[in-house]
Symmetry: C2
């Protein structure tokens, strides 16, 4: 049975606190969704802001491959004709085949929000749909606050749906706008709607996560006969978010046997989730179902040994079906079996009896008590193992560095002038090199000076760049003197790797992480010249 997915990341998702999308962000996300096989992509409300208008125009020039891009707007305002409603001009100018029109289902909102009559609200729904259809548009009707409205006044709520259906809407989407419903309520109401209409194959569901059950609510609706599911990538959305499509799609397809996207598309889900989180500049939720970094990560000693014998014992699905992978975690709680599993994953041959296995475990526990964290910094972990095994070949040695920053503020509220300068001395193959560089800030100056020193020896460093830089204060009570952990993610354009540094001095911690990032990148380049690319 086909379920029609409808993504509203670009509209409802963008209401999330802390999220703002540029035109370019919106276009990139739309193309990701298209490739994932989402049939309906809500692009925004043309007219509500200039960015949304441009977005639809850009897509007219270079259309999506498969997906229908949908414009979103409200019913006409009370007391005027839809044909004379200026709000519909940019909607029509957006040039989409489909328009999603939202209207009121809850008598409270009609009377208190719109300040109009229940009769006029129905007229607004009918007139708006008929007008859009007369202009060649196909209409999806979003019944806003459906569940609250139905519980308050079921007859009136049903009347708004009947009106939309009679006016020519092709989908009727039941929205839990305030997000407070629980699955049993959704199920009961959907069943009553189905019974009222004597069965309907054009019902949709739109849920929010205010009770922590957005996904379960959507599933309950589908299991009661709904055929369209609205949600967002990573569950972005106002307040507690919308139903998370990255959870819903595998639940529907792998667990309940519905047909949403192709298996090949499903296998890109993890990538799409992470790519979108990168575009919107929000840290991915490592604990997200199916697509999170930790979703198939094993920490406890018992789990690790069992899952290696038979994955089914501790994994609810095979991670590759959604493009994710199993991970063995290195941590303070780790037993020796985790260490061995991890080192073997990295290609080191060690067994339980090897005296260095115990040394590695103890060294990790000590460093973690100092504030290091290797769970997220696998490149630093690998360098550490090499070091303990006597296999680490340091491509350079730091002799010392100086950093100087000066800021002058000549006048009140005038832009501050500042300069940052760093000098670095390193040794490579017995040769000392002293360099100096300026930067926008101290870490950048130091990074520049270090690269400058190393570039003459290792020109491939030109390809490496920092893709993320995170700072965490480890003991907030110590204020600005607290120990700082820096995580640096680097890329050479193909691979990514993460390194860690810890110090009370943020420049020092940054240096450690940047220096290890360069060292690891150099190893990586040499390895890829020798053998096919190894995934990290």
């Amino acid at each position: 049975m086909k379920i029609w997915l409808y993504d509203t990341t670009l509209r409802d998702g963008a209401q999330r606190e802390g999220l703002s999308l540029s035109l370019e962000d919106k276009l990139r996300i739309a193309r990701q969704l298209d490739r994932l096989g989402i049939p309906f992509i809500e692009g925004g409300w043309p007219g509500a802001n200039p960015k949304d208008v441009q977005f639809f125009w850009q897509l007219q020039e270079t259309p999506l491959q498969q997906a229908e891009i949908v414009a979103f707007c409200a019913t006409r305002r009370p007391g005027r004709k839809a044909a004379e409603e200026p709000m519909f001009e940019p909607i029509l100018a957006a040039g989409t085949r489909w328009v999603t029109l939202f209207g009121k289902s809850w008598d409270l909102h009609v009377i208190e929000g719109l300040k109009t009559t229940l009769v006029e609200n129905c007229a607004m729904i009918a007139d708006s749909i008929q007008f859009l259809k007369s202009q060649g548009r196909r209409v999806i009707y979003d019944a806003e606050h459906w569940f609250d409205g139905y519980l308050a006044n079921p007859e009136y709520a049903l009347q708004t749906l009947e009106t939309a259906l009679a006016a020519g809407a092709e989908w009727l989407v039941l929205c839990d706008t305030n997000g407070g419903c629980l699955p049993h309520q959704i199920q009961a109401v959907v069943k009553e709607v189905m019974a009222h209409f004597g069965g309907l194959d054009c019902l949709g569901i739109h849920t929010h996560n205010d009770a922590g059950t957005a996904v379960a609510n959507a599933l309950a609706a589908v299991q009661s006969g709904v055929r369209m599911v609205q949600g967002t990538i990573n569950g972005y959305g106002e307040r507690c978010g919308n139903a998370n499509l990255c959870t819903l799609i595998p639940n529907l397809q792998l667990k309940l046997g519905y047909d949403c996207v192709t298996p090949e598309q499903l296998a890109t889900l993890t990538e799409v989730s992470r790519h979108v989180s990168e575009i919107v500049n929000l840290a991915p939720d490592d604990h997200a179902p199916y697509v999170g970094l930790s979703a198939f990560a094993h920490k406890g000693g018992i789990h690790v040994s069992a899952v290696q014998r038979n994955p089914r014992t501790y994994e609810h699905i095979e991670p590759h079906l959604v493009g994710n992978q199993r991970r063995i975690i290195i941590s303070e709680q780790a037993g020796i079996s985790n260490i061995l599993a991890k080192t073997s994953e990295l290609g080191f041959e060690l067994d339980r009896q090897h005296p260095l296995s115990r040394t590695i475990l103890e060294r990790i526990k000590h460093l973690e008590s100092e504030g290091y964290q290797f769970e997220a910094a696998e490149a630093s972990f690998e360098l550490l193992i090499q070091e303990i095994l006597g296999q680490r070949q340091r491509p350079f040695t730091l002799k010392g560095f100086d950093v100087f920053c000066r800021t002058d503020s000549r006048q009140l509220e005038v832009t501050i002038r500042s300069q940052s300068l760093a000098t670095v001395k390193v040794e490579v193959n017995g040769e000392e090199m002293l360099t100096a560089a300026e930067g926008n800030g101290p870490v950048s100056a130091l990074d520049q000076a270090l690269r400058k020193a190393l570039m003459s020896f290792y020109p491939e460093i030109a390809e490496f760049h920092l893709t993320d830089y995170k700072v965490r204060i480890l003991d907030g009570h110590a204020g600005t003197a607290a120990k700082t952990r820096v995580l640096v993610e680097s890329s050479n354009g193909r691979d990514r790797w993460t390194t860690v540094g810890v110090s009370a001095n943020i420049i020092e911690a940054s240096y450690q992480a940047v220096a290890e990032a360069l060292e690891y990148g150099l190893q990586r380049s040499r390895r890829s010249q020798l053998s096919p690319l190894v995934a990290s």
Copy 2:
């Protein structure tokens, strides 16, 4: 109807990737849970590591007020007697009234994991429970992998439960250990178990979030007759986490009418959630249902004006019931009505026609395009409004600062020696002050020098301290030269406030945030001397 809550934050929650708890952390969390009214708190597995043994001893000396602290362990190993099982020694030494014993329900795990027979597994369950009871313990039986086991071999799975019940277990907890079940499966299986036993009032449920439905699964179980619910604060737990008690408790109590904690205890839920996230040193999930910072935040213009007229229109519950509060968000998407709502919340009288309303909106949009973010930095927002309204009284003016860091690395792998020095020149009431200070790092040196300069004018600064310090690279592609946003959270012991700074130079950005933190803190002190404490 009473639902018995059972918290496993200290045991299953601690399996979360990135989380590690000190003995002190565990004790602080246990006391939080006790005050929240959780009747059963699983403290850990005494014997598995020295920390857990000490934890139980400490609680023997200074017991909890209300809660039962529970020790957790496995059934005895195959082929020996429970009375001779050394694993039970530290369990008994922990001195708890209750022990939670977990055993295998899934034939696959018995045969492949334990490498024993189905008969011996039942003997292990019976013998372990009887032995613990003979030692005066009351026993909760956790049926591990219950749902997978029941689906694979229902007769055997039921036989393990019958065994545990007959041996004297007082609770039988059905665990979805791999977390892949959906609510309809949980419901069906729980109903079959109830039917098999002809009704049981001692069933419990333990769910994980691998399908994104941990909370809904627990609700489905309760609605099918289960009376104990296991979960963790903030849903911490292995992989995708456990059922989140901060979501479950209000769902059970406010929406389904079950009796879990007192209304007064429920009103501390948000505080407990945030306090625990602070103890475990993980950023709180701002989008968490009920307790998240954004759970009752309104961003869209339509929502904001409606919710102010009638909260019920856009809020599923009253935020104060769980100790949370409504927030109006300032953002790029904000219309003028958000700005007015926010400024009025801060005590500024402005209306839509006031020319400065438009100025504020434009200034915010400009600063946000530069990388500032006021959603999280309300103190900086308030200073900005004061500035635009001509009401900002700067307690000091920066004239300039220098920062110098030197790091020497004399020998390979020898601890690096480093020093950081800062000089600051400020003007207060026409008087210039030049100070110098050393610090553990450049930001700390600068912070020290600034405080030193201001302390003679404003001694109350001694009370302020930094409680969090966050750094975010705004454009990762620019590497270490990228623009950096610093958020600083400060406290004077009673209130907290957050300020923001943006610059490519991390020291510069930190200075902005620290300087505004001190300015805002000084305002706060003066205000609280004049009037009773205003909540921020």
